[in-house]
C-alpha cells in the first residue's frame, strides 16, 4: 500500500529517471489485455494470407501451377513474383538480392514462391500445399564446410582489420599455436511469430500494422514493392511479442505481401505464418568458423593474432555485412592485441538468409577471443582468468589501449568489474575446491569460469545513429509521447516516458505512450544495436527541452521574473515565489498561444567509420560486465547442470534498475541457450528440421542457474554524455553466457588433468560435451 504523505508526493514524482518503475504494459500483459497485432479487432472483410514455400534447397523453377490452389474453397487470389506491381525485392540493404517471391530460382528450402489469399487462415494454409511446381535441382550446400568446399561466393565484400605488424611479428612470438572453433547459429524464438496486417486506403495509400523493429524500413519496402512513394505508406507497431533482432528486417516479406494483396483486392489482409513457417522462412544468428593463429609469450601475454571469421550467411546479403563486421570489432573481447590481422568471410549458403540477433556478430567474435585465451591458458598451464587479466586493455597512457580498428579504449573499467566479481563470487577458493572435487570424483566433473564483456555501442553505419521524438502537451496538461523506437519487451517505452516525466517533473501517468508510427516520426532507425534508449531517450529529452524553453520564456514574461526563477518542481511549476500546478500552468501557456508541441532530434556525436580502411571510431562508448559460472557435467552422458552464476554488469547510471536487471538476466539465459541446448539442424536436403519448440530447445525455468546472483555495477557512470549517463543494455549481457561454455570446457578438461585445451565448440549440447570428454580420454 502507498503510505507516502502528500508532502512526500510533492517532493518526488512517480516514475523519475533512475527509478525502478514497472514495465508500462505489465498490468496489460498479466490480464491478457495488451494487444499484439493478431489481437486487434479485424477490419470487416479481412482476408488471410499464407506462404507457398519451396521444398528444394537450390533449384531452377521450371513451372508454377497454382490452379488447384486457386480452386480451393475460400481462396480469393493466389499470386507469384510476376504479380508484384513494383520491384520484386525485399532486401534490406538495397542490393536487390532477395526476391519477395522467387520467380526463376529458389535458393533455400522454405523460400517463398507464391502467396495465397483466402477467406480463412485455415483455407489459405491448406490451399498453399496444393501447388504444382516443377524444379530442376542444382547443387546445394547448407553449411560453412560445404560453402568452403564448393568455393562458394561471398554475399558481400569482406572486411579486414589490421594493426601493427602481424606478418612479421607472428614468427617472432615465443610460442605459437593454431586452432579452429565452430560456433553455432541461433533461432530468435520470439514468442510472437511474425505478423502483418495491411489495410488499403484511398488512392495509393496503405496502412500496415507490422510486428517489426524497423517501421521505416517496412514503409520503404512496401513503397518499393507497390511502386508508390513512402508518403503513401503508414506503418504502425505498438508492441512486439519479442524481437531480439529477428524483426529488424525479416518482417519485410510479410508486410510486403499483405500490402500487395490489400491494394489488389481492396480488402484488409493479414499474414500470420505459423511457427514452423516462421522458423523456416526467416533468418537466424550466423554460424561461424573461426580459424586462428596465436603468438604469445611464456607468461601467456598475447603478441599477435591472425584470424579468419567464416560465416554462414544464407542465400542473400541482408545484414551479413555489418554482422560479420561486428564479429571482427569484438574479436578482441577485452584484450589488447599488439599485432593483429582479422578477416571476415561472409559465405553464401543455400539456407535462409541469416540476420540480426542480439549482439549482431559480436558474441561470435568475443567467443572466439575467449577460446584464444583458453588455448593460451592450457598451453602455459595457468588459470584462464590470469591470462585474461594479463591481456586486458590498459588505462589511457599504458600503450595498450588501441583496438584492432584503431579506436582508443578510453572508458575502460573491465579490470575493476572483474576484480569486484572475482572477490564477491569467491572465484579463487571455489576453483580450488572444484579442482579438489574433480580429483576424487570419477564420473561427475565440475568447472568454473569467469569471463569479461566489453561491447561497443553505436550502429557501425554512422547514419543510423539518429532518432526523433514527437511530444505534445494538451490543454489539460496531459502529455503525448511518440518516438522512433519500438517496444519489444525491453522496456524502451517505459524508459523514454521516464525521461519525459523527469524533464517536466510530472508523474509518469501523465505521459501517454503511443504506438510507434512512421506518420509521426519519420526516417527512424531500427530499434537495434542496444541503442533504443540512448537515441530515443535523447530525442525525447530534446523535445522536452524545446517545450520547456518556450514555457520558461512565457512564464518569465507573463509573471515578470527572470528565467532562472521558473523552476519545474514535482507536478508544479514555481514562478518566482508562487507555485502553480502543472495542468494550470499549461492551460495558461495555451491561452498565451505557446506552442506545446515539439519534434525532438538526436544524433550520436564523435563517431565515424571508414570500412575500407578499417579505421575509425565506430563506437561512442563501451559497456562492460563479467560473469562467473559453475557447472557440473556427467561424463557418461554429457548432461550438465548450471550450479551457480554470479554477474556484475555495467549499465552506467541505470535509467531503470528493475528493467535493466531483467535485461541482464534475460540476455544471460538467452546466451546460455545459444551456447548449450539450442541447435539448428539441417538435413541432407537442406531442410531445417529444428523448426518448432518440439525440436529446437530454448532454456526453461529449470535450466537457469540454480543459484543466480545478478548485480548492476552501481558505481558506474557513463563517461560520455548519454541520457542520464546511462549505458545501453540490450545486447552486452548476452555475452556473459560465455562463462557457461568456458566452465563446461574446464569440466571437460579435467578428464585429461587440464593438460590440453578441450576445444569445446558451441552449442555445447550434451552430445558435444560427451564427445569432447571422449577426446580428452584419448589424450
Amino acid at each position: 500500500m502507498d503510505k507516502s504523505t502528500f508532502e512526500d508526493r510533492k517532493a518526488i514524482i512517480s516514475g523519475p529517471m533512475h527509478g525502478s518503475l514497472r514495465h508500462d504494459s505489465a498490468h496489460k500483459h498479466v490480464t491478457g489485455t495488451a494487444d499484439y497485432i493478431d489481437d486487434i479487432p479485424e477490419p470487416a472483410g479481412l482476408l488471410h494470407g499464407a506462404l507457398g514455400l519451396s521444398d528444394r534447397a537450390h533449384a531452377e523453377i521450371l513451372s508454377i501451377d497454382l490452379s488447384e490452389v486457386a480452386a480451393y474453397p475460400g481462396v480469393v487470389w493466389a499470386f507469384t513474383g510476376k504479380d508484384v506491381p513494383g520491384v520484386n525485392d525485399v532486401s534490406s540493404n538495397g542490393s536487390h538480392d532477395e526476391p519477395l517471391l522467387a520467380e526463376t530460382l529458389v535458393q533455400f528450402h522454405g523460400q517463398p514462391i507464391f502467396a495465397v489469399i483466402a477467406e480463412t487462415r485455415d483455407a489459405a494454409r491448406r490451399a498453399a500445399r496444393l501447388a504444382k511446381i516443377e524444379y530442376r535441382d542444382l547443387p546445394h550446400w547448407s553449411d560453412i564446410d560445404g560453402a568452403l568446399a564448393n568455393g562458394s561466393p561471398l554475399v558481400i565484400t569482406p572486411m579486414t582489420l589490421h594493426r601493427g605488424e602481424p606478418e612479421t611479428e607472428m614468427p617472432n612470438a615465443e610460442r605459437r599455436l593454431r586452432g579452429q572453433m565452430r560456433i553455432g547459429g541461433q533461432e530468435h524464438f520470439y514468442l510472437e511469430s511474425h505478423i502483418a496486417v495491411a489495410i488499403p486506403g484511398e488512392d495509393d495509400e496503405v496502412t500496415v500494422w507490422s510486428s517489426t523493429q524497423h517501421p521505416s524500413e517496412i514503409q520503404h519496402i512496401v513503397g518499393h514493392v507497390l511502386d508508390i512513394p513512402s508518403n503513401a505508406v503508414t506503418v504502425n507497431v505498438r508492441r512486439m511479442g519479442g524481437g531480439f533482432g529477428g524483426k529488424e528486417t525479416q518482417g519485410n516479406q510479410f508486410a510486403a505481401l499483405a500490402a500487395i494483396a490489400a491494394k489488389k483486392l481492396a480488402r484488409a489482409i493479414k499474414f500470420r505464418p505459423d511457427r514452423d513457417e516462421d522458423m523456416s522462412a526467416t533468418g537466424k544468428r550466423h554460424d561461424f568458423l573461426v580459424d586462428y593463429e596465436l603468438g604469445f609469450d611464456a607468461e601467456g601475454r598475447i603478441h599477435a593474432v591472425d584470424a579468419t571469421y567464416a560465416a554462414r550467411c544464407g542465400f542473400s546479403s541482408d545484414l551479413s555485412g555489418p554482422v560479420t563486421d561486428r564479429a571482427l570489432f569484438h574479436a578482441d573481447s577485452s584484450y589488447f592485441y599488439p599485432h593483429v590481422h582479422l578477416t571476415s568471410k561472409p559465405l553464401k549458403t543455400h539456407t535462409v538468409s541469416n540476420t540480426a540477433f542480439r549482439g549482431f556478430g559480436g558474441p561470435q567474435g568475443m567467443l572466439g577471443a575467449e577460446r584464444f585465451i583458453e588455448e593460451i591458458a592450457y598451453a602455459v598451464g595457468k588459470d584462464p582468468l590470469d591470462i585474461r587479466k594479463l591481456n586486458f586493455y590498459g588505462q589511457p597512457g599504458s600503450g595498450r589501449t588501441l583496438t584492432p580498428y584503431h579506436q582508443e579504449v578510453e572508458d575502460n573499467i573491465i579490470a575493476r568489474v572483474v576484480e569486484d566479481l572475482e572477490e564477491t563470487a569467491e572465484y579463487r577458493s571455489r576453483r580450488n575446491a572444484i579442482i579438489a572435487f574433480n580429483r576424487d570424483s570419477r564420473y561427475i566433473k565440475k568447472g568454473i569460469a569467469l569471463t569479461p564483456v566489453k561491447f561497443g555501442i553505436s550502429f557501425t553505419m554512422t547514419a543510423f545513429n539518429q532518432a526523433g521524438a514527437l511530444v505534445h502537451i494538451y490543454q489539460d496538461g496531459s502529455i503525448h509521447l511518440n518516438h522512433g523506437g519500438t517496444e519489444m519487451g525491453q522496456g524502451l517505452y517505459t524508459k523514454v516516458a521516464q525521461v519525459l516525466a523527469d524533464s517536466f517533473q510530472v508523474d509518469i501517468d501523465r505521459v501517454k505512450i503511443t504506438a510507434t508510427t512512421t506518420a509521426k516520426v519519420p526516417n527512424t532507425s531500427a530499434t537495434a544495436a542496444s541503442s533504443g534508449s540512448d537515441l530515443n531517450g535523447m530525442a525525447a529529452y530534446d523535445a522536452a527541452c524545446q517545450i520547456k524553453e518556450r514555457l520558461v520564456a512565457f512564464a518569465a514574461e507573463k509573471w515578470n521574473v527572470t528565467p532562472s526563477d521558473v523552476v519545474f518542481l514535482p507536478n508544479r511549476v514555481r514562478v518566482g515565489e508562487s507555485e502553480i500546478p502543472f495542468p494550470d500552468f499549461i492551460k495558461q501557456a495555451y491561452f498565451a498561444r505557446v506552442q506545446l508541441s515539439a519534434a525532438g532530434f538526436y544524433k550520436t556525436p564523435k563517431i565515424h567509420w571508414d570500412r575500407k580502411a578499417g579505421r575509425g571510431t565506430p563506437f561512442y562508448y563501451f559497456a562492460y560486465g563479467a560473469a562467473c559460472t559453475e557447472v557440473s557435467i556427467d561424463t557418461l552422458t554429457g548432461e550438465y547442470l548450471i550450479d551457480r552464476t554470479d554477474i556484475l554488469h555495467d549499465v552506467g547510471r541505470s535509467l531503470n534498475p528493475a528493467i535493466d536487471l531483467g535485461q541482464v538476466e534475460g540476455a544471460f539465459v538467452q546466451g546460455m541457450g545459444w551456447l548449450t541446448t539450442e541447435e539448428l539442424w539441417w538435413d541432407d536436403k537442406g531442410r531445417l528440421r529444428t523448426h518448432a519448440p518440439s525440436t529446437y530447445k530454448i532454456p526453461l525455468a529449470s535450466d537457469r542457474p540454480k543459484i543466480f546472483n545478478v548485480r548492476l555495477a552501481e558505481w558506474s557512470e557513463n563517461a560520455e554524455a548519454t541520457i542520464g549517463r546511462s549505458k545501453a543494455v540490450g545486447e552486452p549481457p548476452l555475452m556473459l553466457a560465455i562463462s557457461v561454455l568456458e566452465a563446461l570446457s574446464m569440466a571437460v578438461a579435467s578428464v585429461a588433468d587440464y593438460k590440453v585445451c578441450p576445444r569445446l565448440d558451441a552449442p555445447a549440447t550434451p552430445e558435444r560435451v560427451l564427445m569432447a570428454v571422449e577426446r580428452m580420454k584419448r589424450v
Partner: protein, 488 residues
C-alpha cells in the same frame, strides 16, 4: 440433448451443435469468442502461451488443470469448466494475486508468454500450498519465456504462495460449489454425436459404447489427450475422419493397485499416474516428471503413449522392462499381451480393427530387484527423448545376475528389449568387469539413427554408458546429476 458439446466458459454456459472434430479450443477462444488473452506461440503444446485451466469432476470433486488450448479439441471439453486469463481479475479491475505478483516481480517483458504463465502459476497456486522451487519449476516446464530468464517469474510464484485461495478475491474459489452443480447437470445421458461423414465427432457414453462404435467404425481416430494427435492437425493439417473422444470416460481413468502391481486405465493422464506410481516406483515417477510440460502431462495419457507406438515414446521402455501387460479390448472382448509384443515395427502395432487399448498392468519390482529408467535429452525438461534406457535387475545372494530386463527407446524403430546385452549379463557376477564385457552386445541389439536429437554414435555410446550408470547406482555410487535432490 446428446447433440451438443456443453461446457462452461469462464462464467457462461456454452452449447455447441456445429463444430468440427478437429476444432481447437485456442481457435474457438480467439476467433469465435474474441478472448485474445490466450495466445498462439507454437500450436504444438510446447510453449505454453495458450495455457488455460480446465476444471472437471473426478470422483465428484472439481479439479482444475492447466492444459494447452492449441492442441485441445473442442470435442474433449464436454462437461468441463474452461477458465481463461480474462476470468482472473476482479470485476473492479483489481488484479488477481497471481497477476499482481508477476507485476511486482517484473515478471513480464514482451508479455506475449505472460498470460500462459499466469495460468500455469494459477493452476499451481490452486493445487499447492507453499510450493518449493522444484515444484515451481515443474509447474513451469511447459511454458517458454524468451525475455526474462525466468528468475522473476519463479519469484512471483514464491511471492503469491504466501496467500491462499479465498472467495474474497479468487473467482474459482467463489464459484466452486455452483460450478460443481452446473457440471453435474451437464453430464451426457448417452453418446454425443455431431456432424456428418468425415467430419463426425463422437463422444461415447461408456467403454461399452466405445467398443460398439469402433466395431462399426474401425477407421475412426481415437483421441484421448491429443498431445500427439493434436499436432497431426495443427502441423500436418491431416484430416482425421470420424473422431472418437475418450478422455472423459471414467472407466478408463481407474488406477487399481494390488499387491503385485498397478493397473492404469488407458485414459489415465501422466499427472494422475505420477501420483500413484512415484511412491512405489520412484524412478518411474522421476521419468514421468520429464515427459512434456505440466499441461501435456495433464492431458496426455499412458494409454495414448502406448497406442501411438512411437519409437521415442517415454512410457513403453520402462513398462517393458518392468514386464507390463497390455489389455486390448473390442466388442468381442478382451485380449492380454505382454506390452513388448504390441510393438511390431515402425508405425505398426498389434492392434486389430475395432480394438483399443483398455489398460496396462505394471508389476511392482520385487524387493530384491533394482529398477531404473534414464532419459537423455538435449534439454533436461520438456524434450523428446534421444535415448531412454530402463533396467530391471535381480541378483542372487552371491551378487550373480539371475534376471535382467533392459529396454530402450530412441535406439530402434520401436521401443525394444536389449536381448543380447541381457544375455551377456545373466549368470555373471554383477561387477564392473561384467558391465564392461557386456558393452559390445549393444551393437548387436541396436543400430540407431542419426537425426536432430542425436547422432547414432552418441546414442550407442550413451546407451552403453547408461548401463554403467545403472551399475553405479546399484552399488551405491550414483553418478547421475540431479537438479534437486529427490522427488517430493
Amino acid at each position: 440433448m446428446n447433440d451438443s458439446i456443453r461446457f462452461i466458459l469462464n462464467g457462461e454456459d456454452i452449447a455447441l451443435t456445429d463444430i468440427k472434430p478437429t476444432e481447437t479450443l485456442l481457435d474457438f477462444l480467439r476467433l469465435k469468442r474474441r478472448l485474445t488473452g490466450t495466445k498462439e506461440g507454437c500450436a504444438e503444446g510446447d510453449c505454453g502461451a495458450c495455457t488455460v485451466l480446465v476444471g472437471r469432476l473426478a470422483d465428484g470433486k472439481l479439479a482444475y488443470e492447466s492444459v494447452n488450448a492449441c492442441i485441445r479439441f473442442m470435442g474433449s471439453l464436454h462437461a468441463t469448466h474452461v477458465v481463461t486469463v480474462e476470468h482472473l481479475a476482479g470485476r473492479d479491475g483489481a488484479l488477481h494475486p497471481v497477476q499482481q505478483a508477476l507485476v511486482d516481480c517484473h515478471g513480464s517483458q514482451c508479455g506475449f508468454c505472460t498470460p500462459g504463465f499466469v495460468m500455469s502459476l494459477y493452476g499451481l497456486w490452486l493445487m499447492k500450498e507453499k510450493p518449493n522451487r522444484q515444484e515451481i519449476e515443474k509447474a513451469l516446464q511447459g511454458n517458454l519465456c524468451r525475455c526474462t530468464g525466468y528468475e522473476p517469474i519463479v519469484k512471483a510464484a514464491e511471492q503469491v504462495s504466501r496467500m491462499r485461495p479465498s472467495a474474497l478475491f479468487d473467482p474459482l474459489e467463489r464459484t466452486r460449489s455452483e460450478i460443481v452443480a452446473r457440471l453435474w447437470a451437464m453430464q451426457a445421458s448417452g453418446t454425443i454425436r455431431i456432424g456428418n461423414g468425415e467430419d463426425r465427432l463422437i463422444v461415447p457414453a461408456s467403454v461399452q459404447a466405445l467398443a460398439e462404435i469402433l466395431s462399426q467404425e474401425p477407421e475412426a481416430t481415437v483421441v484421448a489427450g491429443a498431445t500427439d494427435v493434436g499436432l497431426w492437425v495443427t502441423k500436418q493439417m491431416k484430416r482425421l475422419g470420424p473422431v472418437v473422444f475418450i478422455n472423459h470416460l471414467s472407466e478408463l481413468q481407474s488406477i487399481t493397485e494390488s499387491e503385485d502391481g498397478v493397473t492404469f486405465g488407458a485414459g489415465v493422464s501422466y499427472s494422475s499416474a505420477f501420483a500413484a506410481i512415484s511412491k512405489k516406483i520412484p524412478a518411474l515417477g522421476r521419468l514421468i516428471d520429464r515427459i512434456g510440460g505440466e499441461q501435456v502431462r495433464n492431458m496426455g495419457t499412458i494409454g495414448g503413449n502406448i497406442a501411438n507406438g512411437s519409437p521415442i515414446g517415454d512410457s513403453p521402455p520402462p513398462l517393458i522392462a518392468l514386464g507390463a501387460t497390455l489389455t486390448l479390448r473390442s466388442r468381442q472382448g478382451q485380449r492380454r499381451i505382454p506390452l513388448e509384443e504390441f510393438f511390431i515395427a515402425y508405425g505398426r502395432q498389434d492392434r486389430r480393427p475395432g480394438e483399443f487399448v483398455e489398460s496396462v498392468f505394471v508389476p511392482y519390482p520385487k524387493e530384491t530387484s533394482r529398477f531404473a529408467a534414464y532419459k537423455v535429452t538435449k534439454r533436461r525438461d520438456e524434450d523428446i527423448t534421444a535415448v531412454l534406457g530402463a533396467f530391471l535387475l535381480t541378483l542372487d545372494d552371491a551378487e550373480i545376475v539371475t534376471a535382467i530386463r533392459i529396454a530402450f527407446g530412441g535406439m530402434a524403430a520401436t521401443p525394444k528389449r536389449a536381448h543380447n546385452v541381457e544375455a551377456a549379463l545373466i549368470g555373471k557376477p554383477w561387477a564392473e568387469a561384467t558391465i564392461e564385457a557386456a558393452r559390445p552386445a549393444f551393437d548387436a541389439d541396436y543400430q540407431p539413427l542419426t537425426d536432430w536429437r542425436a547422432t547414432a554414435e552418441y546414442r550407442q555410446l550413451t546407451a552403453k554408458n547408461l548401463l554403467t550408470r545403472f551399475y553405479l547406482e546399484t552399488v551405491g555410487a550414483p553418478a547421475e546429476l540431479k537438479r534437486f535432490e529427490e522427488v517430493a
